[in-house]
Amino acid sequence: MDPLTLTVWAIRLAFLAALYLFLALVARTLLRDIRAASRDPAGALGRLVVVGSANLPAVGSVFLLDAITTLGRDLGSGVVLDDAFASARHAMLTFRGRGWYVEDLGSTNGTLVNGDRVTRATPMGFGDELQIGATRLRLERGIA
């Protein structure tokens, strides 16, 4: 074989090899990312982010949710609301199979989801906003 043919062959194989080197490096990065994500402890079902509030909890605070979480002024609640318009046992969030539901526990001033009053167990999607008194909480996906 003449040197030119050899050179062309060498360059062609080097090009293909470089393509696969790139893919191998990318694959390593993807695997690392997935491993790091699976090591993260917080596999919570969801979280509530405070977006508006009268007193406490402060705007910006985040609550990781258990499958059944109660909200209210009572200090035993999962999310304690220091809000004059909240009842002691105000509302309850439950995770049922695929999604979150909210129900009002007979509160005095009611519970709103995206501005609509809750009358029975109402489904809540991630990104929806829950309002109790002057406190507004956004439901978000747990950290993945």
Binding site: L4, T7, I11, R12, A14, L16, L30, P123, G125, G127
Partner: protein
């Protein structure tokens, strides 16, 4: 080394992983250019050095802009897209330059120059969208307006569009011809992500029994699915654009499955689509002809089956390692074997010159884009953003699969572009927009504050 922010600017965040991958991309593309130039001239030479340098410069500029913007966005997408775009540029340089000619002022631009211009424009759009888009509110709140805009675009094409190869796809805007179905795919993803996220829980839980164990979501929530089917088939009927219809419907089914988690719904959807397609194939000549070509291209080898047969021959000539860039596609009597090689059959040309090894690597790049999109979706804080990220990545992946399978005669050929590789301004620009949005949605927020260093004891410092 500490990097301090300029006043008024965010603190730059180094992106070493992206830089490393971009370096590999640069080496690969230079090797490709060397391979092409050496085959062509018969001595060691780099093909189109100015074009390659401009392209690599544009990639580096986007990287630098992302570093300076200081957002912690995905570091794999840009190099992967850069690799695909670079391979497309090499292919455009390798093909005869008079496939596409456009006069801009006094200069006459050929295929490679035009492809380079569109690629740089697409990268610029991806970079600026990735930096500028902070929120997806403007997408989710106005979902019905976006849907209306998409339908308007479709109607506009129908009324004012120009017919190419029996399909009404292109809209002429001055010197640039534009394919609105490319933009429509993004708009539809936005609409369905917002709609499905809003009704996700109901789609999954409030189910109506149909027969036996078969349950479906209640009828009002199936309405958009029915509308989608009507839209997809409407596009086929009006524009005779089978590829876009297939793409829209597949992506819709993927999103529907992600939102409801129900395999039955997807199977029902596929069954409905096949049914509708069978009816269309019987009624409409274009659809019927495409299926006939797919089943037996050899019945008319010099007429309708010509392109498909030539593509199969190209793949066969390529074999495992290919003929090498610049060595394939011998012109038959001065004619290209595949007329639409730069738009519909780039994979056949790449299959001939890079072989199966190269084609598998290219398909691997699309897989990486989809994997990254799904990873971004898994990390998203709410449903709309998750479905948006998944849908945008799937649009690119599914489109690549549809045209690749069409080239390989696995499914009937449909005239859509291979993302980032095919020649075509609207395709490149819209896919640039998609990558920009994916990058913006992958933002992990500001970096957590570093742990304060434990203060050294005074005694040790003195020692």
């Amino acid at each position: 080394m500490t990097v301090t922010a300029l006043p008024g600017f965010p603190r730059p965040v180094p992106r070493w992983r992206e830089l490393g991958l971009l370096a590999v991309v640069a080496v690969t593309l230079l090797l490709g250019g060397l391979s092409l130039g050496t085959t062509r001239t018969g001595s060691l030479a780099l093909a189109h050095p100015a074009g390659l340098a401009t392209y690599l410069g544009a990639l580096a500029a986007v990287h630098l802009a992302l570093v300076l913007a200081g957002r912690r966005v995905d570091e794999v997408l840009l190099p992967t897209v850069g690799m695909l775009g670079g391979i497309g540029l090499l292919l455009a340089e390798r093909l005869p330059q008079d496939l596409v000619v456009q006069r801009v002022g006094s200069a006459t631009l050929g295929l490679a120059s035009l492809q380079l211009i569109w690629l740089v424009l697409a990268l610029a759009i991806a970079g600026s969208v990735a930096i500028a888009v902070r929120s997806d509110r403007w997408l989710r709140v106005y979902k019905y307006s976006w849907a209306a805009l998409g339908l308007g675009l479709l109607l506009l094409t129908f009324v004012f569009g120009r017919e190419v190869n029996g399909s009404i796809l292109t809209l002429d805007l001055g010197p640039v011809s534009w394919q609105p179905s490319e933009l429509l795919k993004v708009i539809l993803v936005v609409f369905f992500a917002a709609y499905l996220a809003e009704n996700r829980v109901l789609l999954a839980d409030a189910r109506v029994h149909v027969a036996g164990r078969l349950t479906l979501p209640p009828a009002p929530y199936l309405l958009p699915a029915a509308l989608m089917l009507a839209l997809a088939l409407g596009i086929v009927v009006i524009q005779r654009d089978l590829g876009a219809a297939l793409l829209f419907f597949s992506v819709f089914l993927c999103l529907f499955y992600l939102a409801s988690g129900s395999k039955v719904d997807v199977l029902v959807g596929i069954a409905l689509f096949l049914l509708g397609f069978a009816v269309l194939a019987l009624v409409f000549a274009t659809a019927h002809e495409r299926v006939a070509i797919w089943l037996d291209p050899w019945s008319d080898p010099l007429g309708t089956g010509y392109q498909t047969i030539q593509a199969l021959h190209a793949f066969a000539r390529g074999g495992l390692l290919g003929t090498g860039l610049g060595a394939g596609l011998p012109a038959v009597a001065g004619q290209l074997p595949i007329p639409a090689v730069h738009t519909d059959f780039p994979l056949a040309a790449l299959g001939e010159e890079l072989g199966m090894t190269g084609v598998v690597a290219i398909l691997g790049c699309y897989l990486v884009i989809v994997a990254r999109g799904l990873r971004i979706a898994a990390g998203a804080a709410d449903d709309v953003r998750a479905l948006l990220a998944a849908g945008l990545a799937l649009v690119i992946g599914v489109q690549a699969v549809i045209i690749a399978a069409g080239n390989l005669k696995l499914i009937p050929l449909t005239g859509i572009t291979l993302p980032f590789i095919s020649y075509g301004g609207s395709s490149l620009v819209v896919n640039g927009l998609v990558v920009g949005l994916l990058l913006a949605f992958s933002d992990r927020g500001p970096a957590p504050l570093a742990e304060p260093r434990p203060a050294r004891r005074l005694g040790r410092q003195q020692a």
